[in-house]
Symmetry: C2
Subunit: 404 residues, 2 copies
DNA sequence: CCGGCTTACTTCACTCACTTTATTAAGCCG
DNA sequence: CGGCTTAATAAAGTGAGTGAAGTAAGCCGG
């Protein structure tokens, strides 16, 4: 990425975004969609062609004159590595420009190991991934890191993530960049998932939407007019700590009636444990939240009434919080991502859709679509990878413009 | 407003904003604050001087070299008329560039009159206001209209505001523009109040914040990085219809446990009526919500225990919804506006501040300021006026940039 | 099969909002 | 008063865009 790439960044990124998402497309159409003139598009496209990120792939039908040249993205021309550090696993993916996962691995989570150890392990894992897949190092534009909790993007540190206790204030971003030799972006996993969704075209047509990421906790990422919203301190989208009962349970976070206490995997598993003790539910519980939650989900999908009741309750609480969020932000699309939706996702989609259609204030004006992430279990890791692609190739959409 | 004004609009608006809010300020300081060069500021300032909206008002101290020229806004150079159509009253204000209210009137609310009648009445009222104050028509840049409920800004219509039943789909904006001969902006009252707060410098230093407007209902306006957030259909900020109890009371809006059912003026007055019936509270109730709510508020401020309990309960519920909002949007400032805060505002500020300090997720990183609007009862009308000032003079900050 | 028509794309001169560099203006201080 | 410092303006340059004219490539009708 030379100086040339950074200049004209906004139009170039916007144009590339369109070529990516609107499939094979001609210069004329690009001009119409971007609002730029054909002349400008002509030069922008020339640069993109020179960069090798797009190519001309034949001509279209003639409509009476010279036929349009079809432009398509060159997926393999740029690669990014995405890493999601979950509670139980660390997931690695290699994604190309088209959002295709070129390779992936999953290893055990960080546990109690020191951040220095983990950084070493991670760069080794990345190194073997690159070698194993025989990737062209020149095409790797960087790596992204997604973390389940608040990040300090300015300083490149994690702070106060319960599952990453020893990481507070460790300069993880810089450490990873040094040890891998790659530029390193990082963000909250829900935010990463939201960007990933955008990048993969699943949000096509919607510039404003939210992702809900349920892993061990519940987070969300908010995209406004194509720009990820970071708030004043990147502590954004904590839908898991919105109150669904002002006089309800006290959450360890200090708030009262937090959604996570009712709808989160831990809450569901705890209720399931009670039900098992009562004999109303028959599922072998292991004590590992993610495993047990998946077991409840699959029992529910198979028709176990008690299990289904638990999932439904969780979905209803989540839906309630989402109605509030939609009423506050006037959203039209919500994308569900994260491992917790892996087994019973469709039930969640169904119930949330229904409740939103019944209860949002603007329901007479527009509905709210609820979709499962197209990225499934890898949403956060893939999102992390797209963080880099987005930053390197369409900077305009990633960083919010700060006023004065 | 010739072509000249529209060009360079963004820098010019930004600069004017700074001159307005940062008081007398020199070109050098403007350059530092905007990030533009001194040369650019020089030309922008020249244009603003030519427009007559600012003037040079003496020189500052020398710091070893040529002393800086102090630039100040020329408040009287531009005026805007703001109208708030509340349930009980229609409020008119004339505001100048400095946010000073040059004149105001308040008349009875629209009641059941047809929108055409109201438009006639309103343009008459505006006309007499202009004549009564002997305003220079050339300096009036337009009028703004604030309405308690969702608006369709694209088509300039109101839709589904309970207190304005007959107004749905009536082209109120166009009608007013024609009958008054003024350009007409309009928006939700909470949003207008939020912009008003920004314009008046009360949010100084905070580009991202929310206003809570409590009149008959509870709404809010959200400003992100200096840009008002409108959502996909301007149905934004409906904090009154966020759920504070997922298994609570059914709201007429169709949602369950809406904040308004617990904390809104109507809810408080109804509880007060019960208390009066029980003999635990002794306040004469009139049946008019706004009057009765004010009476409860002033009783509470005077130390009546039962009244205070009612206000505290309302504040606690509102605070609960605000904790959720802060956790979702990572805000640093919340401004309370609207007639309902007129009597017991300080109690609300106190309770909400305390609860936010105890319960928000990011409380270790940054606190949340809670302030009463500096505009008191006129916040929405004044906000409506600033809608116009903002649009004519700092277009960049008002309209959100749409992506693609 | 050739010229005219249509449509796609490129070239080129210009604009506009800015920047960088240099110059002038205006104060202070020894 | 001349040297120093700082403020403001002037002049030339830059980069992303525009608009208008030119070129390329297909179709179509005689």
């Amino acid at each position: 990425m030379t100086e040339k790439t950074r200049r004209r960044a906004s139009s170039k990124g916007k144009t590339l975004d369109l070529i990516r998402s609107a499939g094979p497309i001609s210069r004329v159409e690009l001009a119409e969609l971007t609002g730029l003139t054909q002349a400008t598009i002509s030069t922008v496209v020339r640069e993109l062609l020179a960069d090798g990120v797009i190519s001309e792939t034949g001509r279209g039908e003639s409509t009476g004159g010279k036929p349009r040249m079809r432009l398509e993205i060159n997926p393999a021309s740029r690669l990014a590595i995405g890493v999601h550090v979950g509670q139980d696993y660390i997931t690695y993916v290699v994604a190309d420009l088209g959002g295709t996962v070129v390779g992936r691995t999953r290893v055990d989570g960080p546990g109690d190991a020191s951040p220095i150890t983990i950084v070493g392990r991670m760069s080794d894992d990345i190194e073997s991934l690159i070698i194993g897949l025989d990737l062209d190092r020149a095409s790797i534009v960087g790596m992204g890191l997604a973390i389940p909790g608040p990040v300090d993007r300015e300083n490149g540190t994690v702070r106060g993530v319960p599952s990453l206790a020893g990481w507070s204030d460790f300069p993880i971003r810089k450490a990873l960049a040094t040890s891998t030799g790659l530029q390193c972006e990082f963000d909250n996993d829900a935010t990463a998932a939201a960007i990933g969704e955008y990048w993969l075209g699943a949000t096509e047509g919607y510039g404003t939407y939210a992702s809900v990421y349920m892993g061990s906790g519940i987070g969300s990422g908010i995209v406004i007019d194509g720009t990820i919203y970071h708030g004043v301190s990147s502590n954004v989208g904590e839908i898991g700590h919105t109150s669904v009962d002002a006089r309800g349970l006290v959450c360890p976070c200090g708030n009262i009636g937090c959604l996570e206490m009712y709808a989160g995997p831990r809450a569901v598993v705890e209720k399931a444990a009670d039900a098992v003790a009562n004999g109303t539910l028959d599922i072998p519980l292991t004590g590992r939240i993610s495993v047990d939650f998946a077991a409840i989900g699959s029992a529910a999908e198979k028709g176990d009434g008690a299990a289904r009741a638990l999932i439904e309750e969780s979905a209803e609480y989540l839906a309630s919080a989402l109605v509030s969020m939609v009423n506050l932000l006037d959203l039209q699309l919500i994308v569900l991502a994260g491992s917790a939706f892996a087994t019973a996702g469709s039930t969640y989609v169904q119930i949330i859709s229904r409740i939103l259609a019944e209860r949002t204030l603007a329901r007479g004006i527009h509905g709210v679509e609820v979709r499962m992430s197209v990225n499934g279990n890898d949403a956060a890791a893939l999102g992390a990878a797209t963080l880099v692609l987005q930053d390197r190739l369409s900077p305009r959409s990633l960083r919010s413009v700060t006023f004065a």
